[in-house]
């Protein structure tokens, strides 16, 4: 348990460090690009190149930030306390089931026929019928 807490703290510090570096680089890229574009003596090709470089860096930073934020949210998916079996009476209620109930079957069916999209609901994905 102590090791888990220590490792989690190290991971969080590392991730925040990466986030901080990303923000600083992001700021630098825009400052550089705006400086270059505002200097009249700058060759237009150089300005374009720096803007392109800035945009590439921005895309890379964006993906990195998205990845970091995604990783940061994972610990929140695990609750702080484990729910014991005898505490799951509400979760085990028939209407709390994470899925479609049998009575909804035909509704999902007509929706897959009458709409252009289907899937991501444990129902039809498009095959097996003359539907969309």
């Amino acid at each position: 348990m102590k090791n888990l807490i220590k490792n989690s703290q190290k991971l969080i510090k590392y991730l925040f460090g990466q986030l901080r570096t990303s923000f600083i680089n992001f700021e630098k890229t825009f400052v550089f690009a705006s400086f270059m574009s505002s200097t009249p003596a700058c060759h237009s090709e150089l300005v374009e190149e720096s803007v392109q470089a800035g945009l590439r860096r921005f895309s890379a930073l964006n993906y990195r930030m998205i990845a970091i934020l995604s990783i940061l949210t994972i610990p929140f998916l695990n609750s702080c306390t484990t729910v014991k079996e005898y505490e799951k009476n509400k979760l085990n209620d028939a209407e709390m089931v994470l899925g479609n109930r049998p009575v909804e079957k035909t509704e999902l069916s007509f929706q897959s026929y009458r709409e252009g999209s289907s899937g991501a609901n444990a129902g039809k994905v498009g095959g097996g019928c003359g539907c969309n």
């Binding site: 695990n78 509400k90 028939a94 009575v103 009458r114 899937g119 991501a120 095959g127």
Partner: protein
């Protein structure tokens, strides 16, 4: 001396030890009945944008559907829970628009049809390891469409049993009978063409706390083959009539999120959101909310609302809007830009001692919904579920 006494006591204990009698119910080693569900529904729709008549004309249709599914359970020697499922469904539908495949006939054979769809499924759950293997086969038969499907899947629970990851692969190998509109038919010998669907479905569910759980779902679906419907007409701007023609490939990505929350002791919030995109240019958003309210421990009422919005596929155009320059064309309003509302309520009764004096009949659920599309189509559906245990 000490060693002798200890040994003597140990031997005495061994010879007099008795195993505890197992008073708990053992897991059934024989195949036993677990549950059966009977679902019946009546669906009725109407509108004025039938694809059979090029995007105009009646969309009147009724459908009576009955399905029964039975689940049996058996524990094997390694104490793994094996579930065997068998289901069969029969739909009888009448369609005023399908009747217009032959424009001259007052009423043709295509005005009604039956669809039969049996399926078998199996799953094996190892409760100690938290893993489940699953597989299934399915078929579907109607006059102009036959399908053979198979699926395999795997799920793994997290160490603390709070989360579960599921992966499933499905394949459908379908045959479409090429019934063209009467004026475009060379002869009465209908050919067939294949349509294949391959889908990878991933899901992760997570218990957040005693009242709250969520699930993230995503599919990647690839369809190839004949993806149009042969009896759909498309009228060009020069008034010429053609068969609907769509690309022979389609790739779809729907991603969904479910969240169920038990609010207090009597109300449950069931929310669902899905974003969908495909390479035909169609994008959609779906949002639904259902709020079961427990009137008593055995009765609950569930009002629900679903909002759906989609953009048109790049191949859609209304009646007489397509030109001869279009490679692909459809006037099927199911692929047009629209939004829809679906709302209604259900009632669920599950008394402890069974319904109508039948102890095994332990649940009855009735649900009604009204559906409206912004392009003018309306429908109603009423469904009934009886559960036997």
């Amino acid at each position: 001396m000490k060693k002798l006494i200890i040994s003597a006591v140990a031997l005495f204990g061994i010879f007099n030890a008795k195993a505890q009698e197992n008073t708990n119910n053992e897991q059934p080693k024989k195949l036993t009945f677990d549950e059966a569900n009977l679902v019946s529904s009546y669906y009725k729709q109407d509108g004025n944008n039938s694809a059979v008549t090029g995007g105009t004309g009646t969309e009147k249709l009724t459908d009576i559907s009955n399905t029964i599914d039975v689940t049996m359970v058996k524990y094997d020697k390694k104490d793994r829970k094996n579930k065997f499922g068998f289901s069969v469904g029969i739909d009888h539908y009448t369609s005023a628009s399908s009747d217009m495949i032959d424009l001259k006939a007052n009423s043709s054979a295509s005005h009604a049809d039956n669809r039969i769809y049996p399926a078998l499924s199996w799953s094996r759950e190892n409760e100690s390891k938290g893993t489940t293997l699953m597989a299934g086969v399915s078929t579907s038969f109607e006059f102009d469409y036959q399908s053979y499907g198979a699926n395999i899947g795997f799920s793994q629970k997290t160490a603390n049993r709070m989360g579960e990851f599921t992966a499933k692969f499905q394949a459908y190998l379908d045959q479409v009978k090429l019934i063209a509109p009467i004026e475009l038919r060379a002869n009465e010998n209908y050919g067939t063409s294949g349509r294949n669907t391959f889908a990878l479905s991933l899901a992760y569910s997570q218990i957040i706390n005693q009242n709250f759980q969520i699930e993230i779902l995503g599919d990647a679906v690839q369809q190839t083959g004949y993806l149009s419907l042969p009896f759909h007409r498309v009228y060009f701007n020069d008034n010429s009539v053609h068969q609907e023609t769509l690309p022979d490939k389609r790739f779809k990505i729907p991603v969904g999120l479910r969240a169920n929350y038990f609010l207090g002791d009597k109300i449950i919030l069931r929310a669902y959101y899905r974003y969908y995109t495909d390479d035909w240019g169609l994008k959609s958003n779906t949002f639904s909310l259902e709020t079961p309210v427990k009137i008593s421990p055995f009765v609950s009422v569930s009002p629900f609302y679903r909002y759906y919005s989609q953009t048109a596929t790049k191949y859609f155009a209304p009646y007489q809007q397509h030109t001869a320059f279009d490679d692909f064309y459809t006037s099927n309003y199911d692929l047009s830009k629209f939004d829809s509302h679906f709302y209604g309520a259900g009632i669920r009764i599950s008394p402890k001692n069974g319904l109508f004096g039948v102890e095994r009949l332990n649940m009855l659920e009735i649900r009604y919904g009204h559906y409206t599309k912004s392009v003018g189509m309306k429908s109603d559906i009423i469904s009934l579920n009886l559960r036997f245990r």
